[in-house]
């Protein structure tokens, strides 16, 4: 399964069991990309900067 990098337009290989929200790196431009589902297809968008979890 493949999708396109929204930054450089390059092809990105998706894992077979890809999960919505999964973070991938574009091999062409190095951007961190987030997988999302749209019309039952997996697409990619640039990931926001997100820290770690916290709590008791």
């Amino acid at each position: 399964m493949k999708a396109f990098c929204p930054v450089c337009g390059g092809e990105v290989e998706l894992p077979e069991d890809v999960m919505p929200g999964e973070l991938l790196e574009c091999q062409s431009c190095g951007a961190t990309l987030e997988v999302y589902e749209q019309e039952s297809a997996f697409k990619l968008r640039e990931a926001e900067e997100i820290g770690e979890d916290w709590g008791e």
Binding site: E34, I50, G51, E52, D53, W54, G55, E56
Partner: protein
């Protein structure tokens, strides 16, 4: 005034901690209790979900049902059990949560990154927050009235929601705001060890360096201790499972991080 944090495992020794603490009243005691929340969640058919952050820190994922159990156990059961033990020892004690006042204001994470199947994934943030502001007026009103304060690690979110917050973080934020004589952190270990040998004392700068070298859990404790010490509050990290654990910690046992 003394500020003490007792984690869930140190609380196995709650009667002895209460007996010892009585000599230092009025004080402020922040408690943990994650294991008890887990056991009650299971009783109520809520399966706890543990998430692992990219840096390897495991934490409880708090959904709406889990938050309900969290508040009931932390602000209800445990908080009142600790207050009862202190009352047994003649301490005028009042139990509140960080939500009351409000005392602790936290920001809820909209999204968090977790590790699943060894891969990083963005999921909606649970009802967990990072403390962004502290209002000490409720605690000060209680202390002025001669009451020791027992505080459960629940905060008020910036959107008005109740949030699960880390007890160590609550203690550290209260240390910055209250400027106690000392902050004593009681857990189930004897302090910080490096290559098997216990560290007696260190500066806040050394603590910040060492935080990078020790395992998760203790690294967060050291980092917060370093910041509290940088702000002028001496921190002692010690075992809560001994006889007179507070007196021992103040008397030189455990690891101290100095301003």
């Amino acid at each position: 005034m003394l500020l003490v944090k007792a984690g869930g495992r140190a609380l196995l020794n709650v009667s002895e901690i209460a007996r010892d603490l009585a000599a230092y009243s009025p004080f402020v005691l922040v408690h943990g209790g994650g294991d008890q929340v887990t056991s009650y969640s299971l009783k109520m058919g809520v399966t706890p979900r543990i998430v692992i952050s990219p840096s390897g820190v495991k934490s409880r994922y708090t959904d709406a049902r889990e938050l309900e159990v969290y508040i009931m156990v932390m602000a209800g059961k445990l908080n009142k059990e600790i207050v009862s033990k202190l009352l047994d020892r003649g301490v005028k004690a009042a139990g509140i949560s960080g939500l009351d006042g409000p005392t602790l204001i936290a920001e809820r994470k909209r999204k968090i990154v977790v590790v699943e199947k060894g891969r990083r994934r963005v999921v909606p943030g649970g009802y967990t927050g990072r403390i962004v502001a502290v209002d000490t007026s409720l605690i000060r009103a209680l202390l002025s009235g001669g009451f020791s304060v027992v505080l459960a690690p629940v905060a008020r979110g910036t959107q008005g929601e109740a949030l699960n917050v880390d007890g160590d973080q609550a203690a550290y934020q209260l240390a910055l705001a209250l400027k106690p004589e000392k902050l004593v952190i009681l857990s189930d270990v004897d302090g910080v060890e490096v290559d098997g040998s216990p560290m007696r004392g260190m500066s806040w700068l050394e603590a910040a360096e060492l935080a990078k070298a020790v395992g998760p859990g203790m690294n967060r404790k050291l980092l917060m201790a370093s910041k509290a010490a940088e702000a002028g509050v001496e921190v002692v990290i010690a075992s809560g499972l001994k006889e007179s654990p507070v007196t021992r910690a103040l008397g030189g046992e455990g690891t101290r991080v100095k301003p």
